[in-house]
Amino acid sequence: MNILELRNLHVTVMNKPILNGVDLSLKAGELHALMGPNGSGKSTLANVLAGRPECRVTAGQMLYRERDLWPISPEERAREGIFLGFQNPVEIPGVSNLRLLKEAYNAQRRHHRQPELDAVAFRAHLRDRTAQLGLPEEWLLRPVNAGFSGGEKKRNELLQLMLLEPRLAILDEIDSGLDIDALTLVAEGINALRSTERSMLLITHYPRLLDQVPPDRVHVLMGGRVMLSGGMELARKLEQQGYGWLEEMVT
């Protein structure tokens, strides 16, 4: 079964067309990489899947587990297992990481008619995961993303991903702004989360993440369309030659 299927997807942001007919499908357990130059629409694709209100679908379809996503609210998509790792996670002053994680986790459990975890049980549940990402425990009491470095924000996104265990994870430049050690940690985290139950879409500029997290397929998004798909060799070619040769193909 396809976890995600996009058919001729057209999206505008503030009346400006950004995606102009994206076709893409992702099967359960697969990890795909989405590459492309700046402004090609990668983040818009991520955002429209998560239901950001500014992104309007003007034509085509997006199906998540054979269900049309368009009418579904962002929170319901999240509770149904769609997770977006943000490129620039927003700061929320005064709200601790722990609080947000607990609210999010219990919102999902309520949705699936499971009992909520109380504060103590939840804390224990979290402890293992923070350790795994090399995050100190006091981290949990800090306000969401406030005063975090770029790398810390990305690790925080990964922590949420580990906790919420989505079916479809869309990671928007999870590797940007990370040093080598942090990148390795993130890559290990992603690999640990790969399973036959879970599909992932990695949006990235650089193949260096893909070296550590081998994708099943690589897509290139240009001009709001998937121009080319292939395997790891496509990522290599892009690393060596850039996007120029593709632009020629477009014109």
Partner: protein, 481 residues
Amino acid sequence: MNDRPVITSAMARSYKHGFITPIPSDTIQPGLDEKVIQWLSAKKQEPDFMLEWRLAAYWHWLGMTEPSWSSVRYPPIDYQAIRYYSAPRSANPNAVALKDVDPALLATYEKLGIPLDERLTLAGVAVDAVFDSVSVATTHQKKLAEMGILFCSMSEAIRNHGALVRRYLGSVVPPGDNFFAALNAAVFSDGSFCYIPPGVRCPMELSTYFRINAAGTGQFERTLIIADEYSQVSYLEGCSAPQRDRHQLHAAVVELIALEGAEIRYSTVQNWYPGDAEGRGGIYNFVTKRGECRGDHSHISWTQVETGSAITWKYPSVILRGAGSSGRFHSVALTNHHQQADTGTKMIHIGADTRSTILSKGISAGHGHNAYRGLVKVLAGATGARNHSQCDSLLLGEHGSAHTYPYIEVKNRTAQVEHEATTSRIDEDQLFYCRQRGLSNEEAVSLIVNGFCQEVLSELPMEFSVEARKLLAVSLEGSVG
């Protein structure tokens, strides 16, 4: 944590404390004149000086006009239509033991989440329960008395501790201070009194719970707290009223006196009935609260979470007279539907090296109107005075309003005064982030608003902080589409 907090909350999804206790009561006819005051004073078996004091205030009040400078709007109040006294018939002014208190009253407080049975309350909190015009019970008095702490109803204090009352009552808020304070001085019927002797650190939180029950009455209570030299006390105040479609007036006065080295922390979670979604009913909360740091190096802090009342009009203030004394004001005011709040503080720096801090968070949802009004005044003698003020306003929806009126008056060049303020709408990116993590729009708003108020909420004692968070969530109901 104990699962019986002092004030368990209005967890459920609307004004949970809006019930009425059907109880026979002594209520006088509406109207106010000298005779009413004489009757009231006699009823309370007050000494002569109190009657004189009340009458002087009454004459003063007659010559005053209602203030019009605030930003709140309401139809004229008919002061002759208010009943100035109502007490449960069963209230026993001489009740010493809880067994002497009417079970119907005990049940009321139980239902509000404030059991008055000492075995059931939180070990660390003593409660004075005020029902309409009278105090019906005060817990833990005996234990406190062992340390020399006086904690009782105002009526009892007037009868039993006349010298202290005479010395301090009206010394911070004089009877003629303002229209509502003068009215209160003339007709106040009860309230809490507290005296902490020198060097004593009060071992438990003291608290007063105010309940308005009878219809057509006003509640006029008066609280007086004296912290003698190098003593410490933390005081909590809670309140609620039945849901009625007529407005009711609550005009209280609170006076705090901190002598040398003393520290008073006063916290309020104000949950008077706010009126319905169309603005019908609710309490007019016109309150004068003022503390004086009379001694050197004394400290007074006010923390308030204001979610209730149709109109809130209060400016808990600190007069910083003692050298090196400090004052703080931390406030969250939330207005939803048609609620109005004009609140803030006055920090009057008189002594040298005095410090004050103001942190105010205003949230306007629905047609709510929220104004911060604060005065920081540095007199010529306040060398080295410092103030820092931060006032933030959050607007939810396009019909609310948020005003910020800071007054800064400085007459000393060594003073440093800084004020910062922001007004903004709730951040769309924050909302989307939370929703992407599975929170509903309403949950996301509530979470973000909680974060916005975090610095103030963390000033509250633990049980109150939990209560306040829940109240904020409940008060925001219906504010997001």
